[in-house]
Chain length 487, copies 2
């Protein structure tokens, strides 16, 4: 694939030269450049809000969604429902359609014919699935039902779009849908889903806040919504997962009933929960640095790079040892970089791509039977006996994940401040997340929404404050809430 770092003009004749990535403190610019240069997504597709997954980016996607599928497969079955939803079904649940009608893409024509019934490109799949669930569920013996799918969904975004974050085609939406006999069973599933998502983000070393979204910001049609947010380098939060208890709202709309053991007919209770490719946006943004991507070992497309440091006359023996190391590590995703570039150019390229472990071998190491090892997230290098490398890899990978997690967690903690006045909230949300107390009233919430968004009642956070206090707006009894500017 062509090197894109020299700019977008195909016919540019200027010589290849390595331009520095903007520093991460200019987060927006850094993110946009890194996505393109590290070949995660090509942002040059000729429609706003649509992007191309490069092979390298796709390999990250494959590893990350591999973890998500592994977790889901423990108690869900994978399915696939159509991408096209007839207008009649999409419109059935009143709150739901109100929440989505401004962002639905409509298919109105097939060939030269106008369609009798317009078809929506799924913005999410409740209204594709639930008419079928009505047919699937008949008795208590059919419950619980737990399914998921990983699909493309579509939103007509009018705001500023951004790769992996705000898209018109969300290419990788993992949505799970479950059906239960009772509200309590659905609540239990919500707890499980939260635990699954916690495990998923822990494996990616991404810290998060868990909040219960305020009434006015819950999923359209849900009883309540639990959300995962992470904090981006610029202090804005990114919603990276949501879990909804739908109660029997959709069951009533779509007539999903079951026969109880006593022969009665009851409405079913439902949950749904989703994660999109924002998980990869978080991965890039939370861990990356001025040199490029920093990817946890488990999901890095190249986990180990072996770099032979060649000196004239000694090339053969060095190459031989470098290849042996590569061979010893073949159960991992390993590259032995035999290209003719200078080592510095190689370091630059593999750092940009976030390779977790780098192993260098020169003539001296060949003599010693050693190699020089370094990790993407640390400056230091150290020597290891060549024979010991294979047995150390997993441990190094896990230690790196832990380091990344602690670094990210500390960075998140620093951005969270307990604010005791509206002025403090207003001032702090410019660069971080304000925790403050808020009562139930939507009016008080709206006052805070002027500064950013109320993420909701804090359920889990890396910092601990009292759960209750006086509402920062009206002074009545309130609960600990998070407020931030959001992506």
């Amino acid at each position: 694939m062509s090197d894109l770092s020299e700019g977008n003009e195909k016919d540019s004749k200027k010589p290849k030269q390595v331009e520095k990535l903007p520093p991460k403190k200019n987060f927006s610019e850094w993110y946009h450049e890194l996505i393109q240069r590290a070949e995660i997504m090509d942002v040059r597709y000729p429609v706003k809000g649509l992007y191309v997954w490069y092979p390298f980016g796709f390999r990250i996607r494959k590893s990350v969604y591999g973890i998500l599928r592994e977790i889901m497969d423990r108690e869900h079955e994978e399915v696939y429902f159509p991408a096209l939803i007839p207008e009649t079904e999409l419109g059935k649940e009143g709150e739901h359609i109100k929440g989505f009608e401004n962002e639905v893409y409509w298919v109105t024509h097939g060939g030269k014919d106008e369609l009798d019934v317009k078809l929506a490109l799924r913005p999410t799949s409740e209204t594709a699935m639930y008419p079928m669930f009505r047919l699937w569920i008949r008795s208590h013996a059919d419950l619980p039902l737990r399914v998921y799918q990983v699909v493309n969904t579509f939103r007509y975004e009018t705001k500023h779009t951004r790769p992996l974050i705000r898209l018109r085609e969300i290419t990788s939406f993992k949505e799970a849908h479950t059906i239960h006999a009772t509200f309590e069973d659905a609540e239990e599933q919500v707890r499980k889903a939260v635990a699954y998502y916690r495990e998923f983000y822990d494996r990616l070393a991404i810290p998060y806040l868990i909040c219960k979204r305020p009434e006015w910001d819950k999923f359209p049609g849900a009883v309540y919504t639990i959300a995962f947010d992470t904090v981006m380098p610029d202090g804005k939060t990114l919603q990276i997962g949501t879990v909804h208890n739908l109660g029997d709202n959709f069951a009533r709309t779509f007539d999903i009933t079951y026969e109880t053991p006593d022969g009665e007919h009851s409405f079913a209770h439902q949950t749904c929960y989703g994660i999109s490719e924002r998980c990869i946006a978080a991965l890039i943004s939370v861990h990356g640095d001025d040199l490029g991507l920093v990817l946890p070992f488990e999901v890095s497309p190249v986990q180990v790079v072996v770099i032979p440091v060649l000196y004239k006359g000694r090339e053969g023996e060095v190459l031989k040892v470098a290849r042996e190391i590569g061979e010893d590590l073949k159960k991992y995703r390993v590259v032995v970089d035999e290209s003719e570039e200078r080592p510095g150019a190689k370091y630059y390229r593999w750092e940009l791509k976030g390779v977790a472990i780098r192993i260098e071998v020169g003539p001296r190491e060949v003599e010693e039977g050693t190699a020089v090892v370094s990790f993407r997230d640390e400056k230091k290098k150290f020597k290891v006996e060549k024979e010991k490398i294979p047995e150390m890899i997993e441990q190094w990978g896990e230690e790196m994940r832990e380091r990344l997690y602690i670094r990210a967690l500390n960075s998140m903690k620093e951005k969270i401040v307990l604010c005791e006045s509206l002025d403090e909230v207003e001032s702090h949300v410019k660069s971080g997340v304000a925790f403050t107390y808020l009562c139930d009233s939507e009016r008080c919430g709206e006052r805070l929404d002027e500064f950013g968004s109320v993420l909701g009642e804090v359920i889990e956070a890396p910092v601990s404050f009292e759960g209750e206090g006086r509402c920062v707006v009206c002074g009545k009894e309130g609960k600990l809430n998070a407020v931030a500017r959001t992506y």
Copy 2:
């Protein structure tokens, strides 16, 4: 999941009863019923031509596409391009748009806004990819480029739709696209692609014809098209894969050029090749029988079922042994069926689902340290020492694949007849594939198209006839062609 075999009415009160599948000789009815009853797809989605993948069906899809990905990954990289293509790009290649314009779904509105530029739901991705390839390819060092994606594509089908065969949303289109320096390099890639597809269908035990499609039926925009067709039980053929040499047609339209080692600019040469979920339609149709699915071991969602045959007072010991057998086979997809149904009902259900290997254990087998083994494609049962089972499984699976292949191959051979007159062609295509000689002229081809479709010049077939002979229409020099009614 609910048992759907008693009909589609949710509120039907009639007692559960096992209705027999229509016999396979009534192929169309058999296929439709089997797809639903074996829980491959739910055909009750409220839009014509759109279907739901059940969990069981999805597991077949996962195994089958796992094989396809394994083969592709050897020299292609996986990518993902957007599902929405602007009208301006889709229309650029004249032949291409002519071929697709009557079956494209158009997105015309986002929310309540009319879009400035209409967006096509991809019918195939040449026009999404090739404007980007223009940017990706600059020098001969960027070649060859080989990528693939597995995506949903859309066709506004006006003909009779059928699950997995003729769809409005093709949910699982594997499309590969490659770029090369020269026409010869592209030809070499066509040969490789044909070899990949051969391997894929061999592993599924599905026999095929390989034909070069006639000029008037090639892929819109291609230089030539090589196609794989299998023969369905009713004698109609199903196209299950195509490989196209695009020459530099699209490169000229989308300005995909590269700099040669001499510094000249040349148009690139391209190929593309695709397989859709028709591969699963073929799998079901070619191997299935009056009892239901017959799935090759490698792709069966349940590879082995262990059935304890329980007698009063001996349940404990029998169950214990059945579970031990299950445990010994845990690296496979194995189910120990401990449900309380009669063995007959269990056999019925697992036969319907196509389970490759069935193992029964009763009190006598417990005493003997044996088990009774049978295969889905054979009537006979035989006893095996329990300890020997794990080491035999792979061999049994492979032997079954070979038996399935030979049976399918013989059935295909029987349906192919060399026809020496138009009357013979007309008569034979009613129940099979007519091989006959045809010259190059489109007029002679049109004469044959009246009876069915000219599949093209036969390149590979399980029966061998002279490659050349007198055109059955005009008597001039001709080549061996296949003619059939097609799905």
